[in-house]
Amino acid sequence: MRCYMFQFVNEILSLLLVLSAGIYSGRYMNKFQCVLFIQALVWIFFFLCSYIVTGIQKHYNVQPNNQWVFNIHMLFETSLLMLAAYFYFQEKSVKATVVVVFVFFFFFYCFRIFIYGVKKFDGYIFSMQSLSIMIVYIYIMYDFYINNRFNFSSRSPEIIACIGLLLYTTCNIPFFNLLNFLNVQCPEQSRELFKIITDTSANIRYLSLALALWLIGKNTITINRRRHG
């Protein structure tokens, strides 16, 4: 129970920081940043749902399985991240590319869910999701680069959020693809790997987002102060 609580606190801490930073900077966010914050809120909802589901299952002495929650969450997560990217880009052609990438992911998602069901976490869907996010968010970083905004000294909030997101998605591809195999073959080690890889990368991702959201508010307030003397 203590370990369970520790894991919960470890996972929720970065999310609480995101929540606080989002409330702090809420007024100053553009659409892109706002959707990223909403995505974090959606993740908090699903994250709490997963714990509630596990708790209920344990209460009724059923084998705990909250993987279907994450399967459903992947659709919401990808939709929101693609929507954020859609708002970020100005050119119609790039917006259309984002839509195409999302539609491709959506059909793949539906196909996998239809064939294999929702109960078991699908590593292939996660891989496709990661690939979609990588394509779109690396392009966002490239856009920052060619427009000379890719500058560490300026501490661009969007870039910090993108780096966290990319680290999370890419680092989890190998583990999530073998998750079901590991759950059967060596469940103990699978749990350990989950803590090491997924929890750590999720913490990096949401800490980056929290930092990005906090910077949005801080930068805007600093600019406003300078403007008003």
């Binding site: 970083m141 920052f144 680069y145 000379n148 890719f150 500058n151 560490f152 000294s153 780096i163 990319l166 680290l167 890419t170 680092c171 989890n172 591809i173 190998p174 583990f175 073998l178 195999f181 590991l182 073959q185 060596c186 080690q189 790997l193 090491i196 890889i197």
Partner: protein
């Protein structure tokens, strides 16, 4: 391949991916920073070249205005004086026609007066010698003589707190603003307020004319970041001259609400 090896492979692959992403981001940062630095240097060089160019243009125009003022004073002024003497002689020769010469004498006096004022306001040496406030007084006298609008100005005494170059720039800006008000504003009143205390200088000129959309007119367009409208060139000139002289300039205007231009030293 046993389970331990699979776990190890996953950890190693994840670490490799993590490192790859980290290196990629680092390369992006470093090259981005270098590119930014290079572009900043280029922009700096371009800026200093433009500044030098403006400086030369200003010097040339000041020199031309000086020559023009000299010409007005020495040549046309002399001719007017000769005319005046000639009329005086005519009056002495034909005393019965003295009344007929009176209107000519009045007009000639006004022309001489206007010419003297114009000559002084064009002559940068005079501005440097007499000071900013005296030169402005001359310009106000010229504007009042035109009777196009009421000029509300309280003569100011004492030092302006600006150096000679800044005084000249402020005076030229004042001339530009008053010319704009004359030509475009359709104003009934022009208010000039000056506050020069303890080394700080602030000048506010406002009119109650038709005004313009300052935000739209001065909004940068295109890659060069220059306002597209030709109408903004005068205002842009005012802004660039103030910047060159180390002064702050604020232009506030909206349609139907007149125009307000404020020039001040950066410390205020």
């Amino acid at each position: 391949m046993d389970n331990q090896e699979v776990v190890l492979a996953i950890v190693c692959t994840t670490l490799l991916i993590f490192l790859l992403i980290a290196v990629l981001v680092l390369i992006f940062f470093i090259s981005g920073r270098r590119r930014l630095q290079q572009e900043m240097e280029m922009a700096q060089a371009k800026l200093s070249f433009e500044k030098e160019l403006r400086q030369v243009a200003t010097e040339v125009s000041e020199q031309m205005m000086g020559q023009f003022a000299q010409e007005l004073h020495d040549n046309i002024g002399q001719l007017l004086t000769a005319m005046h003497i000639h009329i005086e002689n005519q009056k002495l020769d034909h005393p019965q026609q003295a009344d007929g010469f009176k209107p000519i004498e009045i007009y000639l006096g006004e022309v001489s007066q206007q010419l003297r004022l114009l000559s002084r306001t064009l002559n940068n040496e005079y501005i440097g010698h007499a000071g900013l406030f005296d030169a402005m007084q001359q310009q106000v006298a010229r504007l009042r003589a035109l009777k196009r609008f009421d000029v509300h100005w309280t003569p100011v005494q004492g030092p302006s707190g600006l150096d000679k170059n800044q005084e000249l720039v402020v005076f030229r800006i004042f001339q530009e603003i008053s010319q704009n008000a004359l030509r475009h504003s359709g104003a009934a009143n022009l208010f000039i307020e000056i506050n020069a205390t303890a080394g700080n200088f602030e000048m506010e000129i406002r009119d109650d004319g038709r005004g313009f959309d300052a935000a739209e007119l001065l909004r940068p367009h295109g890659n060069a970041g220059m306002p597209s409208s030709k109408r903004a060139s005068g205002l842009l000139h005012i802004l660039s001259r103030s910047e060159m002289a180390g002064l702050q300039c604020e232009i506030t205007s909206s349609p139907g609400k007149g125009c307000r231009i404020k020039i001040k030293t950066s410390t205020l």
